[in-house]
């Protein structure tokens, strides 16, 4: 490719561009609804994701009612139960967590943290949100179509997903696939923005190694998502064709309710490979932004640089790369070629090493820090505990032979809720408490926040920690009722009831949070520009909330890394990234 000089574009560092061409909204509609401003799009993403997430939360209550008190609630039948678990899982993993971390936090934080005026393709960014909204609406519509939403489990395994023995076989599954396809298209538009903004629109002086780990996490996760989502796209399209046109990509010869079906020759395992080729990176697509954000929360509130920044960056990149070669650990008991087990168990357990390094560095950051136990920090600590717990149980399930008895039991359910449910949600909540002042200009209420933290953290732990032991006992997952089984003692039913009660309590405590969000919007204490005395660029904007174009007349110039906290010799315990060095600065006593 020939590189041609483009007049006025190439070779000029962004800081010297006098007036960056931005789309300027002219009306209320283009300012708040069809906005091309990444900050508004971020809020739109976050609100939509939270709204559909609340639906998924209510679904989890219904599931827990059934599991805790089987036979008590006549309005839940076996079909509905399967529909609830399916929609709960799909919404939480994709439409809530992925959309919130990348579409929400990514949109808000990337331009601000790298010192850009906006995303590089604002129009495409706006489209991304609207396609996402459409995907969510299509998904939500399945609750109202004949037959209801699909009950195939969030993994949508064929042949079951498209056969008549599964609820939602008429419309539910078709709309689910369509919604996923839309989501992926919408995400790709957004993802291009996030990646190119980080690559190209960083302000002067913002080298890669000066990026906050939040940006590293979101950036790496986006790259992974861009490469992994096509696998879900391919699987969805092919399954949709199997369902609509009667092709046999995934469908073998089979007898459907006593009659021989028209299908033949297809491979259900092919779907599983494609699904998990997306599905495993998806875990890290959710986890890496959480890793990044939590690093910044800990560093800011412990007033200490993140310990081992370079190792943290390398670990993010290593985890991102490794996560593409571990997918089949979800398929140890799928009947795939057994020799694959050695390879995938090894790669899976290797990925524990960079992950463990991240954990060590988080807790080592606390060592000799100046720990302010504010709400975001509490959530960060809660994240560490739940993530360590969930990560360690991952070592059970990743180790092929240990997975054999534990797969498809409640142990798996407990594990993935701990590691990619509770842990990332801890970060999401902590991050909301952390950045809410920047988004709205007001602080969230501290007392309500602490109450919210303790109920959510302890409650979630009480839900999911004992659940592992139900799995160890052998209680299978996705069961409407446990029924009579000699190996399940009555105490297991009591534990289920206990878990349900705690789950409902934790669920309702989120209403306190919603109240706090709304109330503080109007009555919260004024935050000022930098309430946490943080170093990163988003806290250095001339206005709070940041105005259109983020930076006023001139882009910030970056002189230092993102973690200059408690630097010896400095007057304050933080030095913002855009503060020029003093000529007389003392040499830093850096250990290396």
């Amino acid at each position: 490719m020939v590189d041609i000089p483009y007049e006025g574009i190439a070779g000029i560092p962004p800081a010297e561009v006098p007036d960056v061409e931005l789309y300027h909204p002219r009306s209320w509609w283009t300012r708040y609804v069809f906005s091309q401003d990444a900050k508004v799009i971020a809020v739109q993403y976050a609100l939509t994701a939270s709204a559909i997430g609340l639906v998924a939360l209510v679904l989890s209550w219904l599931m827990r009612l059934q599991l805790g008190f089987p036979g008590t609630f006549s309005f839940i039948d076996a079909n509905q139960y399967l529909q609830f678990i399916t929609m709960h899982g799909m919404i939480m993993v994709i439409y809530l967590l992925t959309a919130l971390f990348l579409g929400g936090f990514g949109n808000y934080l990337i331009p601000l943290m790298v010192g850009a005026r906006d995303m590089v393709f604002p129009y495409v960014n706006m489209l991304s949100y609207w396609v996402y909204l459409l995907a969510v609406l299509v998904l939500a519509s399945t609750f109202f179509v004949p037959g209801g939403p699909t009950g195939a489990g969030w993994t949508l395994y064929p042949p079951q997903a498209i056969l008549s023995g599964t609820p939602g076989q008429d419309w539910g599954i078709i709309l689910m696939m369509s919604s996923l396809i839309l989501f992926i298209i919408g995400f790709t538009m957004g993802g291009l923005n996030y990646v190119v903004t980080v690559l190209q629109a960083r302000t002067r002086g913002m080298t890669l190694m000066r990026l906050p780990l939040t940006v590293w996490g979101i950036f790496t996760a986006t790259v992974m998502a861009l490469l992994a989502f096509p696998a879900l796209f391919v699987a969805s399209v092919m399954l949709l064709l199997d369902r609509l046109l009667g092709t046999s990509f995934f469908m073998p010869s089979l007898v459907e309710m006593g009659t021989l079906s028209k299908y033949g020759g297809g491979s259900p395992l092919l779907f599983q490979h494609l699904f998990w080729f997306f599905g495993h990176p998806e875990v890290y697509i959710v986890a890496l932004p959480a890793f990044g954000i939590v690093s910044d929360l800990i560093s800011t509130h412990a007033r200490k640089n993140i310990f081992g920044y370079r190792m943290m960056v390398w670990a993010i990149v290593a985890i991102g790369a490794l996560s593409f070669i571990v997918w089949a650990h979800h398929m140890y008991v799928s009947g795939m070629f057994p020799q694959f087990g050695y390879f995938f168990a090894t790669t899976t357990l290797i990925i524990a090493i960079p992950t463990a390094i991240k954990v060590y560095n988080w807790v080592l950051t606390l060592w000799r820090g100046d720990i302010h136990l504010r709400v975001p920090m509490l959530f960060a600590l809660g994240f560490i505990i739940t993530f360590v717990n969930g990560g360690l149980t991952g070592l059970f399930l990743g180790n092929v032979v240990v997975d054999v008895p534990l797969s498809d039991t409640m142990f798996v359910v407990a594990h993935f809720h701990m590691v990619m449910g509770v842990a990332p949600i801890m970060v999401v909540l902590g991050a909301i408490y952390h950045w809410y002042p920047k988004v709205t200009g007001r602080m969230l209420n501290d007392v309500l926040g602490k109450f919210h933290f303790w109920v959510t953290f302890l409650g979630a732990y009480l839900i999911f920690f004992p659940m592992h032991y139900l799995g160890l006992l052998g209680v299978p997952r996705r069961y409407f009722e446990l029924g009579d089984a000699a190996f399940i003692p009555p105490s297991a039913h009591s534990l289920n009831a206990f878990i349900s009660i705690v789950a409902l309590t934790v669920g309702f405590s989120q209403m306190v949070f919603l109240f706090n969000l709304t109330w503080s919007l109007f009555k919260g204490e004024a935050a000022g520009g930098n309430p946490w005395r943080a170093t990163t660029l988003e806290w250095q904007t001339p206005e709070t909330p940041p105005g259109h174009g983020n930076w006023g007349k001139e882009l910030p110039v970056v002189y230092r890394w993102a973690y200059d906290y408690s630097v010896p010799g400095a007057a304050e315990d933080f030095i913002p990234q855009n503060q020029p060095p003093r000529a007389t600065r003392l040499v830093q006593g850096a250990a290396s």
Partner: protein, 277 residues
């Protein structure tokens, strides 16, 4: 410091719960005690790491929480510490992985003296098949399935004629005899799951999967389906009964072969054809 104390209590509480939990794995009924040992090793290692990390964190919160005038240390990295921690983690991982892979090797290596048993899953019931006197299972195909041939056996295959077919019944196994369980499904994914056996494997329509076990104690065990298979997934039950040799043979005597079960005309035809071969 309350926060540090609660964090510590979470770790201690988890350990106590682990030690005193009334919910623990079912008494094992097969040779796969190795799997339980591997789980125990993993529990020890991960439990140690869990407690260590949380205790360290709680200590930091206790010792270094904000007080007037405190200033954090400045310490960007410590290569040697990170290096040692990585190596330590690597050793721990290897200590879990190595026994896991060894046991996996045993798990996928079926002993030569294992006899075959077939389990067939369909929405939402189990069927079983044992090789007859010839010791071989006949071939099958979903296209053969009919009301008189629920397992879709191949009528033209002489090996199929003496196969023992168990519809809506329980499976009996003989204690101490290794058995290779062949798994097949005629509609969707299922998973033949007996918690006491520890072994399980998905059943995939269009393919035959397997695992092997050697029952080590007699008893009656619940069979559940462990792979979501539609609306009545939770009701897909059966029983496996592990007998001693005498009881097992007594049971086997009473079972009907495929030829006996097939309705008159079909049997005659099949016998004629197999005789002609």
């Amino acid at each position: 410091m309350v926060v540090a104390l609660i964090l510590l209590l979470v770790a201690i509480g988890s350990v106590l719960f682990h030690l005193y939990s009334p919910w623990w794995w079912t008494p094992i009924a097969t040779n796969w005690a190795y799997i339980d040992h591997t789980i125990n090793i993993t529990f020890w290692i991960t439990g140690f790491v869990f407690v260590a990390v949380i205790a360290f964190m709680a200590y930091c919160v206790f010792r270094f929480h904000h007080k007037e005038g405190r200033r954090a240390d400045y310490n960007p990295e410590n290569k040697r510490l990170e290096w040692w921690l990585s190596v330590g983690t690597g050793v721990g991982v290897a200590a879990m992985l190595a026994p896991g892979l060894v046991v996996w090797h045993q798990f996928v290596t079926v002993p030569a003296d294992a006899t075959e048993v077939e389990v067939m899953g369909q929405q939402w019931q189990w069927s079983f098949r044992l090789p007859g006197k010839d010791g071989r299972l006949g071939t099958s195909d979903v296209r053969n399935i009919g009301s008189d041939n629920p397992m879709g056996l191949n009528r033209d295959d002489p090996h199929a004629q003496d196969d023992v077919v168990i519809e809506n019944g329980d499976l009996h196994l003989q204690v101490g005899k290794p058995v290779k369980v062949l798994l097949r499904s005629v509609d969707v994914l299922h998973d033949f799951y007996v918690p006491e056996f520890r072994a399980k494997m998905d059943m995939v329509p269009g393919a035959v999967t397997y695992f092997w076990i050697k029952p080590i104690r007699t008893g009656t065990f619940d069979v559940l389906c462990a792979e979501l298979c539609g609306a009545a997934h939770y009701q897909m039950r059966a029983k496996v009964i592990v007998d001693d040799e005498r009881e097992y043979h007594a049971w086997l005597e009473q079972q009907k072969t495929f030829a006996e079960l097939s309705a008159g005309k079909a049997v005659v035809k099949a016998t004629y054809q197999s005789g002609g071969n």
